[in-house]
Amino acid sequence: MSYGSGRLTGAVRIIVVAIVSIAFVLVATPFADAHTALKASSPQDGSKIDKAPSQILLEFSLPILTIGYRVVVQGPDGHQYQVGTPYIVDNKLTQSLKPLGPTGTYRVDFRVVAADGHPQTFGIQFTLTKPGPAAGGAASVSALIPLPPPGSASAANNAPPWAPWTVSGLALIVIFGAVLFGRRTTHGID
């Protein structure tokens, strides 16, 4: 070993400075906002309603930009029910609908660009229990209904179940390999 305690003190000093500055940053800064999330919608996600809405209302946690938005409402008959362009004010989006038709599940898929410039995709669905105006039923007026907070482990965010195991196995192999490789490569140097 050609370096003595002097070098080590230098390393220790760097580590101490790093830890202190991290601690300082942690104490001094407020925690982050998350990405934009869907705060409320009408109809509510997963709800069963008996009167067909004439529009979809969506409220986000951040303002959204008036670029790159897209809303698709698909009925149980496979037809699309959105009509016209969505109307965006600040963090609220309104999409007018054609008169809804048959009973069943309507999927609302939408993509918006939050004020931070990130496109995001969301989806909600609702079930119409009585036929809509296009099928002879009544139409209803909508009001915003807040969503329950989303669970932190929603399905699209989940990796396949084998993935973390594969990754950890790979990690062990690679790290162990690095130890062996380093030992072989530096063998006989000093």
Partner: protein
């Protein structure tokens, strides 16, 4: 700066007394690029960036395949070239002077830096186009460039960051080509580090002060560390006297960078996982994060071997130990570069992967 490429080749031969082992070099470069590309594809798939939600032909989740792949590819090239520029500039500063002026290795570093800065500017321009296409959910062919300049706010509000980054990269490309002075190079190095910031903050970073700062620290430290090692490996490996000075200098810096990269990386990861360690297990973001942690630990192990054996011995460039230490240094550094390339490729995807708090799904309650 007046060296032509044939001069450089002759030059290397004369220093080592042996012909350049060009086939090995080509193999190594090919392996590194392949590793990065494969890592990018696997990470895109694991991160869920390949799936597009389509309903009756209307794409909801993203835009065309060209945009999805072009975005990632141009980002990878941009990251690699920016790391290269910073590393080459750093490398030229670490090298000792020769006969009262910049050494040949220094000039080679600077010339590579100039070309890479040009690549940086061009890849950022591509990144601008693909990001724009991605944000407004329109194919590249339907974008109106004139509208971008006349009405940025309603066309693509983020464009300013990209355009300023392109401009600064061009300034660096020209600046390096006309600079042979250490202070000038230092200034350009600082400018290059600054130029990492706008694009780095395009990812998930804009969600808080802590995240912003840890990401800035992360990208700058990574670029100095990875790029500096790349510069030593590319331009100094065949010059024992220069390595003997540059490697110990770089080693100190690399330790500092490693600590900064580890600390800022862990903070960023935890923050985006909502300070929940269990979220590491099972979320797509967490899986990619674990891959990067693996790379970090692997690089730590290799760095430990460096510090334990090669760095101290390489300094005494006269005896035969130094020759062995030098060969060991080159092998270890080559392995490090491959791991780093994989980690950077994963990072490119990670910055576009949604953290677990952000997705709402059909009937998830």
């Amino acid at each position: 700066m007046a060296l032509t490429s044939s001069d450089v080749v002759l030059d290397r031969r004369s220093v080592t007394g042996k012909p350049v082992r060009s086939r090995r070099v080509v193999l190594f470069v090919a392996a590194t690029v392949a590793a990065a590309v494969i890592a990018l594809v696997i990470a895109m798939w694991l991160g869920g960036n390949l799936t597009q939600t389509t309903i009756n032909g209307l794409v909801i989740g993203g835009t065309s395949n060209l945009t999805a792949w072009g975005l990632q590819a141009s980002k990878l090239v941009m990251e690699a070239s920016s790391v290269g520029v910073i590393g080459m500039l750093l490398g030229s500063l670490l090298l000792p002077q020769q006969d009262g002026g910049p050494s040949r290795a220094t000039r080679r570093c600077l010339r590579t830096a100039s070309w890479l800065a040009l690549v940086w500017a061009v890849s950022t321009a591509f990144l601008l186009i693909f990001s724009w296409s991605d944000v407004v959910a329109r194919p590249v062919t339907q974008l109106s460039i004139t509208q971008l300049f006349t009405d940025t706010a309603t066309t693509f509000p983020g464009a300013a960051d990209f355009i300023s980054s392109i401009a600064v990269a061009l300034v660096i490309a020209v600046g390096v080509a006309v600079t042979a002075n250490r202070w000038g190079v230092l200034l350009l190095l600082l400018l290059a580090c600054y130029n990492l910031v706008p694009i780095a903050l395009q990812g998930h970073a804009s969600h808080g002060t802590l995240l912003k700062y840890s990401l800035i620290v992360h990208v700058i430290a990574v670029s100095l560390w990875v790029g500096g090692l790349g510069a030593l490996l590319m331009h100094v490996r065949a010059e024992p006297a220069q390595l003997a000075v540059a490697v110990p200098r770089f080693s100190k810096l690399a330790l500092g960078c490693y600590i900064a990269v580890a600390a800022s990386g862990v903070i960023t990861l935890l923050q985006l996982l909502g300070w929940s360690v269990p979220a590491l297990w099972g979320s797509r973001y967490g899986d990619l994060g674990m891959l990067k942690l693996t790379a970090l630990i692997t690089l730590g192990v290799i760095g430990w071997w460096h510090r334990r054996h090669t760095v101290g011995q390489i300094r005494a460039n006269e005896d035969e130990h130094a020759g062995r230490a030098r060969r060991a240094f080159i092998r270890l550094a080559a392995a490090e570069i491959v791991v780093m390339a994989i980690a950077v490729a994963i990072a490119v995807t990670l910055s576009r992967t949604a953290a677990p708090d952000t997705i709402v799904l059909h009937g998830n309650q």
